[in-house]
């Protein structure tokens, strides 16, 4: 795959200008075992509704932009909506659901390129596993 196919402009933008990133030093990180990258996610809201999503972490463009895009996408959603989106995204990235179903989810569709790359799937899904845990803890 050409570098630019995977690292689209929008991905580089989220990497350089992450949305909703702030220090969350008190939280436990979710780690990628193969590289040590890590993401933390904080959900701000009540058990029904997500008002804000914040993340913290260090990692490659794919993992960090995925976290940034995820935070934008889930902001303002109800908890069931958020859970549905998380399982939809993970299903697509794992190749279990058609890639096109990401198209109406905004920027995140740019990550479709990793579906063919099992090693990068771990980068793309890191933040989503973190938010899955955070949703479970609500």
């Amino acid at each position: 795959m050409a570098f630019d196919e995977l690292y689209q402009e929008i991905i580089r933008d989220h990497y350089k200008n992450p949305r909703n990133k702030r220090e969350l030093s008190h939280l436990k990180a979710v780690e990628n075992p193969s590289c040590g990258d890590s993401v933390k996610v904080l959900l701000d809201g009540d058990s029904q509704h997500i008002e804000n999503v914040y993340f913290d972490g260090s990692g490659c463009s794919i993992s960090m932009c995925s976290a940034s895009m995820m935070s934008e996408l889930l902001t303002g959603k109800t908890v069931p909506e958020a859970k549905q989106i998380v399982s939809q995204f993970l299903g697509v990235i794992r190749g279990e659901q058609p890639a096109d179903s990401l198209d109406d989810l905004g920027d995140i569709a740019a990550l479709k390129g990793v579906i063919e790359l099992p090693v990068r799937v771990k980068c793309a899904t890191l933040a989503w596993h973190a938010v899955e845990q955070a949703l479970g803890d609500l």
Partner: protein, 417 residues
């Protein structure tokens, strides 16, 4: 007679399949005479179809790289091939999820993994039930942990015909029993054990069951969800795949409970100098660089077996067995070990007064490869009152003509030795 007709009708299919196995068409010269190989040692290891050899070679020539960690094209390709093999095994077994499929070095490694990890959850005095017909692979690992952790092993006995005395299960049972482990099919007797009954009995008492599937998975359809076993172990090399590779299926709830087995790369989530956190399933149990050619080859082997048809394989081997028994029965001095109804395609036998080694050396000189010995089931041989037996074991690529050649050679041995 209608079975005989069915056997005859199947020969053209078998002849076609044999073309896929280079070794079956290998010229043999024995004592200066050209012979065709009659390979009846399939319970020890099976031969590989060309598609498996090609899958190994193609992996090495096109994709070889280390899996799971490399952000480069070969690494992605190797990972995809490795993980696709896991998905294929999941489908073969009808497992609930890919996390339940652990790749190991083979049946022996799979059972050692469970024994070592499971034993850490037990207390001295806890009991494990196995059977008198187990292969050493499903016996010695339990002896080792019994010795180390103060556990007690109990054994379901067998009848003289080689049938499991399942009626003894309630007699052996106690509240201290923590696991039942048994072979789906005996590699000596050919007996197919009543797994469903054993599993139902154990599950009613909340106790898990490990099935040694080394002899069942290659020869019949095994559905872990229908069977409801908690663990299933088998080897790639007995089903046409590469050596040094195998599978442990485990129910997710059990695999999550068990502590890791070996330490190393891939089985960790994070490591500090003084401790580590284990990775998620299935990687938690897969330490170190895996046998990637093994995964590629097993995938091809399963595709091959599924195309041939596992139900057909089971049926056909039954026909071969019946036919072989008919041909052997009248031979002077012959004695059979294991005559359970509905048994698999394995015949353990002796000619009275002839040692199994000498018999098998004689058969080998006729191009017929059978095994002689205790077949890694020493206590079973003792139970049968012998030191060693000869064993012929079939696979789907064996023919009626091969059975004829085999029976003729046994008849000659009986006359000449």
């Amino acid at each position: 007679m209608t079975n005989h007709q069915e056997l005859l009708d199947a020969q053209p299919k078998v002849q076609r399949l044999r073309q896929d196995f280079p070794i079956l068409n290998r010229p043999l010269v024995l004592g200066g005479k050209p012979r065709t190989l009659v390979y009846f040692d399939n319970a020890a290891t099976a031969q590989k179809p060309r598609s498996v050899l090609d899958a190994i070679r193609s992996y090495d020539e096109n994709a070889n790289a280390n899996v799971h960690r490399a952000i480069h094209s070969l690494g992605e390709e190797a990972t995809r091939i490795y993980e696709a093999s896991r998905d294929r095994v999941k489908t073969l077994l009808n497992a609930s999820s890919r996390e339940e499929i652990i790749f190991t070095r083979g049946t022996t490694d799979s059972i050692n993994l469970v024994a070592q990890s499971f034993a850490k959850l037990l207390s001295p005095g806890d009991e494990i039930i196995a059977t008198e017909m187990e292969h050493h692979a499903n016996l010695v690992p339990w002896q080792m942990v019994a010795d180390q952790y103060g556990l007690k092993l109990k054994f379901l006995p067998i009848t003289d015909d080689g049938v499991l005395r399942i009626d003894q299960l309630p007699v052996l049972w106690s509240p201290r029993v923590k696991l039942v482990t048994l072979a789906a099919m005996s590699n000596v007797l050919g007996t197919i054990n009543p797994l469903e009954e054993v599993i139902a009995f154990a599950h009613e008492r909340g106790v898990p069951v490990l099935v040694d599937g080394a002899q069942s998975v290659p020869h019949m359809r095994v559905d872990v969800r229908a069977l409801d076993c908690d663990f299933l172990a088998f080897s790639s090399h007995k089903m046409g795949g590469p050596t040094g590779f195998g599978v442990l299926y485990g129910k997710k709830e059990w695999l999550e409970k068990l502590p890791p087995y070996q330490g190393g790369g891939d089985m960790i989530r994070s490591v500090w100098l003084d401790h580590f956190e284990a990775n998620d399933l299935p990687y938690k149990f897969e330490a170190g660089t895996p046998h990637m050619e093994g995964a590629a080859g097993l995938h091809a082997a399963i595709d091959y077996l599924d195309a041939v048809g596992l139900d057909w394989i089971h049926r056909y081997e039954g026909l071969l067995l019946d036919y072989a028994m008919e041909q052997l029965k009248g031979i002077p001095r012959i004695r059979f070990f294991g005559t359970a109804p509905g048994k698999g395609g394995i015949i353990a036998f002796l000619l009275d007064g002839i040692h199994a080694h000498d018999l098998s050396a004689f058969l080998d000189s006729r191009g017929v490869a059978v095994r002689a010995g205790h077949h890694c089931a020493h206590p079973l041989a003792r139970r049968l009152g012998v030191v060693s037996t000869a064993r012929a074991s079939f696979y789907f690529y064996n023919t009626k003509d091969e059975v004829d050649a085999f029976a003729a050679a046994v008849r000659d041995a009986s006359a000449q030795l």
